[in-house]
């Protein structure tokens, strides 16, 4: 293209006038996107304390076959009767707890006298716990107290519930530990 100095000036002047005339402000209004508009929402319970606040877990993708979900955001569940959407600083950072590389995802055991934790399968873990419960109960069971009254206690054990336990789970847990005669129990359901 043959461009003389004069026509170059003409073109650039007109060009810059056109560029200045463009209204860019419409585009400026659209600068921040709502990052969870298409995430999958899953209701859950914060695992930390006994308050058991409701949380909504936002995961990437729409649960389609080829999509691998990962947790991208967590915030309070406004429909939850206990917390009504609010969360404490620990609860609000649950995403980092879930995505933490150090998060414990399988049972581990530290054998008596050992100084380290070993991996153990769920089956072995449950079997081992059952064995310990039976042995401890057999060893420490108190049928009658000093006055000769029937008490049927197993004071060698205690049971601690978790805050994410449901009513149904707590019911079964209470039935079981009552059957074993465990007097020290806390379901964490104190709110």
């Amino acid at each position: 293209m043959d461009l003389s100095r004069r026509s170059f000036l003409k073109v650039s002047t007109v060009g810059s006038a056109v560029a200045l005339g463009f209204d860019l402000s419409k585009a400026h209004a659209e600068m921040r996107e709502f990052k969870i508009s298409r995430t999958t929402e899953t209701r859950s319970i914060c695992p930390y304390c006994a308050v058991s606040c409701g949380v909504i877990i936002h995961t990437l993708g729409d649960k389609s076959k080829n999509a691998t979900a990962s947790v991208v955001h967590i915030e309070g569940d406004p429909d939850h009767p206990i917390s009504r959407g609010s969360l404490c600083p620990k609860g609000i950072t649950l995403k980092d707890d879930i995505n933490n590389p150090n998060r414990l995802k399988a049972p581990k055991v530290r054998r008596p006298g050992s100084d380290k934790w070993e991996d153990i399968s769920w089956d072995d873990a449950i079997k081992g716990i059952a064995r310990h419960i039976k042995d401890t109960r057999d060893r420490t069971f108190v049928a009658k107290n000093a006055k000769g009254q029937v008490v049927n206690r197993t004071p060698g054990m205690a049971m601690i519930g978790g805050c994410t336990d449901t009513n149904e789970f707590n019911f079964l847990q209470w039935k079981a530990i009552t059957a074993w005669g465990v007097p020290y129990r806390d379901s964490q359901a104190r709110v």
Binding site: M31, R32, E75, G76, S86, L87, C88, I92, T93
Partner: protein, 299 residues
Amino acid sequence: MTAQTLEIKRSSASLWGTTTGIRTLPTVAKYIDTTTCIGCKACEAACQEWNDLKRVPTTQDGSYQTMPQLDADFWNLIRFNEREVDGGLMWMMRKDQCMHCAEPGCLAACPAPGAIVQYSNGIVDVNPELCIGCGYCATGCPFDVPKFHAKTSKMSKCTLCVDRVEVGLEPACVKACPTGCLNFGEKEDMVALGNARVAQLKTAGFSEAVLYDPKGVGGTGVITVLKFNRPEWYNLPADPHVPLLVRAWKSILRPLGVFAALASVIAVFGHFTTYGPKEVVGSDDTLDRPRRDDERGPQ
């Protein structure tokens, strides 16, 4: 993109925004009750989570305060102010963040067109795409809020979660607050809530209780209930104003400069039409140098 619900009321270094005036949106505001804040920092964590901000190393300065002041990656800081009042220790937590002024000093000071905008619902936001990172907004802000981000070379600050607000949600910090000392809604409702709380505090014996909504910056989009009418106890300016130099620059010097530039163009044109083109005294022939081809006239 989702921000179609918001129009721009004011835009930095621009004469007007894009508001058509046809659609009216209520001005929103955040309500902070410093008297019921327990300093749990859920709002801080919620802000970091929602805005995907990186973890900032915290400092131990002898108090529970996360860091001495706001950071480019930390937009919401609970200030743990300790003060002895009437012989007893008062712990006066205050949520430090962008106040979203009705007449923002940052926007007035910003020289980059469109880098700082005020939406039609009153939220003041920095557009990182247009920000030039000059830091003038920090000098215009009476609350020392905008911070320079060393990695992006842009300014950053609280957006009042405009991405949430524009789709009808409350800001992340307000949602998280477990004690309910934060609230969010239309400015009028929040002022009513604040006045009611101030009246309650006065009945409870805190005669100095006040609602901090400074008129010097046209009122703020973040209003704070203070137990004592001593904003400086809460690290707040008593009477914030946009600095005089910023206002003078924008409202006097800048228009004068534009006028001077236009006037000089008109003057040059006038001189040209009156006196004609400038004539060079003498001729190139007198110069002792070989002439170029295009200078060589017909001979």
